[in-house]
Symmetry: C2
């Protein structure tokens, strides 16, 4: 099954995010986040996965990981991984992310936040799916650490509903949340 020309991007935000106390912080990049989200993104037809961090040493680390799998030894060892990591881009801020995505599509994307807490959602999965399949560019923001900072929710066009399983507990990893949300929006 293909999705035709969907225009969907995913961004993993490392700043500004919350720590456990709700303070705004910058988080460190996790190697497996890059791999898992790139693999899920490639599987579901995401155009690019943006790793957003303002820290130069973290950007360098991400670039080294990408180089290993795209042009280095890893590329020869695992072509599937190369194909997944080839969609990853590094970005310094939310502002430059928005500029880059808008430039790519030639129009402003519909920017959506994701959140584990209920009450803040504004659009259902079905509605967003229809817009994406209709070809309208969408950008989904995922937070590391304890989630996206309040200033991000204030800046986006909408927020997807939290993933509810059984009862109150919904402490998924961001890797799992990305996988589930992409499947809800684009899985068969």
């Amino acid at each position: 099954m293909g999705h035709g020309r969907i225009k969907l991007d995913v961004a993993l935000i490392h700043y500004p995010v919350c720590n456990k106390q709700g303070e705004t912080i910058g988080s460190a990049v996790t190697n497996l986040d890059i791999h898992d989200i790139a693999r899920a993104g490639r599987t579901f037809g995401v155009n690019n996965v943006y790793i957003v961090t303002p820290y130069e040493d973290q950007q360098t680390l991400v670039q080294e990981i990408l180089d290993h799998w795209i042009v280095g030894y890893g590329a020869k060892k695992n072509k599937d991984r190369k194909e997944a990591l080839s969609i990853v881009r590094i970005c310094g801020s939310l502002q430059s992310l928005l500029q880059e995505v808008e430039k790519k599509w030639g129009e402003r994307p519909f920017v959506m936040a994701t959140c584990a807490a209920g009450g803040s959602d504004t659009l259902g999965y079905k509605e967003v799916q229809e817009e994406i399949l209709a070809g309208k560019p969408h950008l989904l923001l995922f937070g590391t650490a304890w989630g996206l900072a309040p200033e991000i929710f204030a800046a986006v066009a909408g927020t997807l509903p939290p993933i509810i399983g059984c009862g109150q507990y919904n402490h998924l990893s961001v890797r799992s949340a990305v996988a589930i949300i992409l499947d809800r929006l684009l899985g068969e």
Copy 2:
């Protein structure tokens, strides 16, 4: 939303699994597999997550990780993680896993394999969901490395369909696959 008394278990198999060449091997345990699968399991109401490995040093490693988060420093630092990891059990073989799960439920569970390759599926997500919600015990087997070994497919009662996104590429991490399959079976 609760699921009433569902009887669902998930097992992450480290032996027997395939390597890239299709040979049967035992794989090493990955720390983040335990965390991500336990968190997804707890979110969706899974009873236990079984880490299946015959290697004693690997069993010891898993137990040390569990101890840190359930009774050690991690338990004080992050109660949500403690709650998730509390559902994890260690098991030495598929045979002892089946005995343990059968003993727990007082009846033989319906054992299902999962697989990234198409063609081997025998039951759809909707059918399996109905059986699970009807209270029949189910055990889902997930393979590490390049997936479950052929002898496992020969021994199970059924295989779930692969997760298809957009096109041919479906190289998800096992962490992502578990999250998506639990959401398909038990998400709202």
